[in-house]
């Protein structure tokens, strides 16, 4: 950890300070305006008819009765939109496979087929009940096993979108449910001598889960003159603008996408959610429309990928990890969404954050007739972490070694080459592991107990790459009174970007807390930013913000040098303004700007871009010298109790650590780690979307399980590790996902420790734990 030194004159630095979260007061008091609260023109309310079949051809859609209902303004079917837009109706970040409304075929129970526009929602919903659809059932593909048999296909042909250029070789591929395959070949796992080698293997499963942010998705779209305005809950305003412009064949300046702070998202509000449908309806009907997902509909919009991993890990007689294999299958549901990216980026770390000489990984993205899976905090990595952290733990136990010490010995260090060929920097796995094991007193002996409750400890480490390559832009407008306005398209969904981006500006320009305001993302005013996701903003947008602030600083210095008649090199920005050593004078920003422009209220603007690049992995070996701009490293240690009568697991203590490079705001970093840990406890113990014949059976908050305050461990601590990144803004990296990666395996490893059973399927429900104990003869 670094101590922040006071700056000259006793001024406290902004970077590293625990500034209060922006809008905290408004959120607590209920005065913050979310998307659904913002004023919009009078709108038609939209209700959606959703498919009742998992896989079927649409033979006919009868909307006569629905259209005749008083109060109904229009009923629009997929066929109507297809007639208007043709194949442009198909959108999606990786594959253009997702129709705003299904027009020829439905691919999951709940897929939108028709939309009713009415004067109020009750009327719209009543009209939906009057729509009759005639289907011809097709063979459904419910799971990846069936999908891989290749007898029936969710899509007839693969359609890579224009967004990701590296997928173009898949265009036109037929007769497959595998829409993407990533392979890693490092060394040769088959050539590893078997003499004295210990191998552990398993079949791991992580079920699909739902994001369940408190704020429901809401999109309003309307036509203003000859342009389309969209106000929507999205993490990806720049993407949505492009997607909608493509959909409607409009120039980018005729599509405006705005958002507000989001009431949580976790990956659920990005890419193509309600926006293509809202845009198509508003434009085709030349009217204003409003779509709000109900809580039940939100369960259908996107999920986390269910994933199976068949894997092994081997150590030689000296305890070196000599081989790791993983066959990963991501169930992406009816649409690829960003599944192909997840498949590659997460597949490549399936061997774990260890020095492994020989690795074989196959990671596949597989279509099924279920709701589409998309990005979810962790981007597919928790599913492979579940595998490698269970395996490495079991391997240590097989070898009679302490699981934490065994990991410590093999974890990647600075300068090590990871199995996919990239050299590690600013990824202090050992520091994270040390912090969490110290916190729970790993080396102090403890009683496992012999009665009803058994105690156990577990540890796990996680590794994730930041999304690369990506693009960020920032525009700073400095006002004559010394306050500043920051224009970025990063969306604050609770992660705290509206707090830390101003801290970066303030650090460079020596401004006070509260003096920099972030403008809500608006594609008419805020510049392009790839996405707010993948923990990328602190680093990418943070770097753009820092660079813009530095340009602003230079402008101020130039103005001061001019005014004072000194060299620019003689001037520097301080908390009081710009100071010249020679002139022994400090000019405040407000005087400087007033002097320059000759007016009050004037503005000075600076802008900057920050773009990262990568070396695409080799298609044969999956290797790359620079597969990512940087890494996230995290570790978790837990102490748990298992109730041997009920199988219930109670997490008593949890310590979570993340290497953030440098904490711009330590409080927000701790909160991110803590929040991720609590979400992870849900995934470990009970979160699960249960399907029956392609239909979600627990898609309501009466049945879907989320952690409540009563599931939070009595002791939960977050540990900030700072291994500065050489090109991070002030050394910083993101932290949104770090804390969630290793929670489930840490808990499962503790269950293994407590009652001696290794469970490979999530969640660790009491019934599953008890079954495993019964099978193993543990009582």
């Amino acid at each position: 950890m670094t101590e922040t030194a006071l700056r000259e004159g006793g001024e406290e630095p902004a970077v590293g300070a625990r500034w209060q979260r922006a809008a905290a007061r408004g959120k607590v008091r209920g005065t913050t305006k979310y998307v659904a609260d913002l004023p919009v023109p009078p709108c038609a309310q939209v209700a959606v008819y959703r498919s009742t079949r998992p896989h079927a051809r649409i033979l006919a859609v009868d909307v006569t009765q629905a259209a005749a209902l008083p109060g109904v303004q229009a009923v629009v079917t997929g066929q109507d939109l297809f007639a208007l837009l043709g194949e442009r109706l198909l959108t999606g970040p990786a594959f253009a496979d997702q129709p705003a409304l299904a027009y020829d075929r439905v691919r999951y129970v709940g897929e939108p087929v028709a939309a009713v526009l009415a004067r109020d929602l009750a009327t719209a919903r009543a009209a939906v009940d009057l729509i009759a659809v005639e289907y011809e059932d097709l063979e459904p593909v419910y799971d990846v096993e069936t999908a891989l048999k290749g007898e029936f296909f969710v899509h007839d042909v693969l359609r890579p979108s224009s967004v990701f250029g590296d997928l173009s070789h898949l265009r036109g591929k037929r007769d497959t449910n595998v829409c993407y395959e990533y392979n890693l070949r490092t060394g040769d796992v088959d050539a590893v001598p078997t003499d004295g080698v210990t191998t552990v293997s398993g079949e791991f499963w992580s079920p699909p889960v739902a994001h369940v942010p408190i704020e429901l998705p809401c999109t309003t779209a309307w036509v203003e003159d000859d342009r389309l305005e969209i106000l929507t809950t999205t993490q990806t305003p720049s993407y949505v603008r492009q997607a909608v412009a493509d959909l409607l064949d409009l120039p980018l300046n005729k599509v405006r996408v705005r958002t507000s702070v989001l009431g949580g998202s976790f990956g659920s509000k990005m890419y193509d959610r309600l926006e293509p449908l809202a845009a198509a309806l508003a434009w085709s009907q030349q009217t204003a429309v409003r779509l709000v997902a109900t809580r039940e509909e939100a369960f259908l919009l996107t999920t986390r990928h269910g994933a199976g991993v068949t894997s092994s890990m081997s150590a030689d007689a000296d305890g070196n990890i000599v081989a790791a294999t993983a066959d990963v299958a991501y169930d992406t549901g009816a649409f690829a969404d960003v599944g192909p990216r997840i498949t590659a980026k997460s597949g490549m770390v399936a061997a774990g954050p260890y020095r492994v000489e020989n690795a074989w990984i196959r990671s596949r993205c597989i279509y099924t007739n279920k709701p589409s899976a998309g990005p979810f905090r962790g981007f597919g990595v928790p599913q492979v972490t579940w595998s490698h952290e269970s395996l490495v733990d079991e391997l240590a136990r097989e070898l009679g070694e302490d699981p934490a010490e065994f990991r410590r010995r093999h974890l990647l260090r600075e300068g090590d080459e990871a199995p996919m060929g990239t050299v590690m920097h600013s990824a202090d796995f050992v520091g994270c592991l040390d912090a969490v094991t110290d916190e729970i007193g790993w080396t102090t002996p403890y009683e496992k107990g012999e009665g009803r409750w058994r105690r156990g400890r577990g540890v796990a480490v996680g590794m994730k790459a930041v999304l690369t390559p990506t693009i960020a832009n920032a525009v700073i407008q400095l006002n004559q009174d010394g306050s500043a306005t920051l224009m970025i398209s990063t969306v604050d969904m609770g992660q705290g970007s509206d707090t830390i981006m101003p801290q970066i500006v303030a650090e460079v320009l020596h401004l006070d807390e509260g003096s920099v305001r972030v403008v809500a993302a608006d594609t008419d005013t805020t510049p392009y930013d790839t996405i707010t996701a993948g923990s990328r903003s602190t680093y990418h947008t943070g770097n753009a913000v820092r660079a813009a602030a530095e340009k602003m600083r230079d402008k101020l210095v130039d103005l001061a040098a001019q005014r004072l008649g000194v060299a620019a090199s003689d001037c520097k920005v301080t908390s009081g303004g710009v100071m010249s050593t020679t002139a022994q004078e400090t000019v405040s920003i407000s005087d400087l700007m007033h002097g320059h422009f000759g007016a009050r209220g004037t503005t000075l603007t600076a802008e900057a871009n920050f773009t990262t690049s990568w070396q695409p992995y080799d298609h044969e070996t999956g290797r790359s010298r620079q597969v990512t701009e940087h890494w996230f490293a995290g570790a978790v240690a837990v102490e748990i109790l298992v109730d041997t009568m009920t199988g219930r697991v109670k997490v008593e203590q949890l310590a979570v650590a993340g290497d953030v490079g440098r904490a711009i705001n330590p409080t927000l970093v701790e909160q991110q780690l803590t929040g991720a840990a609590i979400m992870g406890i849900g995934h470990a113990l009970f979160d699960e979307l249960v399907f029956d014949q392609g239909q979600i059976v627990n898609g309501t908050l009466l049945d879907y399980q989320l952690p409540s305050v009563r599931d939070v461990p009595a002791k939960l601590t977050a540990h900030v590790i700072e291994s500065a990144h050489r090109t991070g803004p002030f050394g910083a990296k993101g932290v949104g996902e770090t804390g969630i990666l290793a929670i489930a395996p840490a808990i499962a490893n503790a269950v293994r420790d407590a009652v001696g059973v290794r469970i490979t399927r999530l969640p660790l429900s009491p019934e599953r734990v008890l079954e495993a104990m019964t099978e193993a003869g543990v009582s």
């Binding site: 009750a122 109900t294 039940e296 009568m645 009920t646 219930r648 849900g682 113990l685 009970f686 699960e688 249960v690 059976v697 627990n698 309501t700 009466l702 049945d703 399980q705 989320l706 952690p707 409540s708 305050v709 009563r710 599931d711 429900s765 009491p766 019934e767 008890l770």
Partner: protein, 280 residues
């Protein structure tokens, strides 16, 4: 959207219930709102009892207490009189959902919901409570042990509303406990629950058990445990509960698991009640 009616007295409420199409009594609304929103419940007319006077009183009676139907669950948990006269009820009401729901949900609405997983019925069964019903035709009382008729079905007839629950005082020297076991989130519905009441009267020792979430309706059984020690009482309780357990399998667990959990709930409740008795 259903129409909301807000009668000012009981007679008006009863008249509305008799005359309206498809009426439904609206208490705290915590269950109705969710069920309506999800399309699981249909009502054209809601008769809200908030403005009917006299439905929130907790009164001492000759034999125990009488609780008005609109009394919030939170009061059952925190009221000193309830805790003194029927500690098992106070403890059980304190386990319902969360404080926000308990502050809103009503005692009458709770049992009218009729869900097999409700917490309070287990205690009310053990305590032999009576449900007071009223309609345009008059008043009647139904023992809570006859109140739950079938899955989501209670003895409340068309045109009737619950006005109060009468709970006999827990006998002197009795001991009790309520155990709620969830299988997923801690704050979820129970997958098994049990209220145990140990009573010694006229030289006989009786264990009264109310069990919830383990069959389509809450179940009750009484066991003579005179002369039993703790271990034989536990065995007798499990033996008596076992035939009543008929779990509904769902995402929370299979029949086998819930049965097993049910017997754990019974055992835990008996052991805690026994300990409660030793502590006194």
């Amino acid at each position: 959207m259903p129409v909301l009616h807000q009668p000012r007295d009981l007679d008006e409420a009863c008249t509305l219930l008799a005359e309206l199409d498809d009426p439904m009594v609206y208490g705290g609304g915590t269950a109705i709102q969710i069920l309506l929103k999800q399309g699981l419940l249909f009502a054209e007319n809601l008769v809200d009892l908030s403005f009917v006077p006299g439905l929130t009183a907790i009164e001492a009676t000759a034999t125990g207490i009488r609780v008005g139907a609109m009394t919030p669950l939170r009061r059952m948990e925190t009221d000193a009189q309830v805790a003194g006269v029927v500690p098992l009820a106070a403890a059980t009401y304190g386990h319902v959902a969360n404080p926000r729901v308990r502050n809103t949900a009503s005692v009458g609405g709770n049992i009218a919901h009729g869900d097999y997983r409700l917490d309070p019925p287990t205690a009310l069964l053990a305590l032999d409570a009576q449900v007071e019903l009223r309609s345009a035709h008059g008043q009647r009382r139904v023992p809570v042990r006859d109140f739950f008729v079938d899955f989501q079905l209670t003895a409340v007839e068309h045109g009737e509303l619950i006005t109060a629950i009468e709970i006999p005082a827990q006998p002197a020297g009795s001991a009790s406990s309520y155990v709620k076991l969830s299988s997923l989130g801690e704050n979820d519905w129970p997958s098994a629950s049990a209220a145990a009441l140990l009573v010694t009267e006229a030289g006989r020792r009786t264990l009264r058990l109310g069990i919830g979430a383990l069959a389509p309706i809450p179940q009750f059984v009484s066991v003579d445990v005179s002369g039993h020690d703790l271990e034989t009482t536990v065995e007798a309780a499990k033996a008596a509960a076992d035939p009543l357990i008929d779990p509904i399998p769902d995402v929370r667990g299979s029949v086998t698991y819930k049965r097993r959990l049910g017997l754990v709930a019974v055992e835990d409740a008996v052991r805690r009640a026994w300990k409660d008795q030793d502590d006194d």
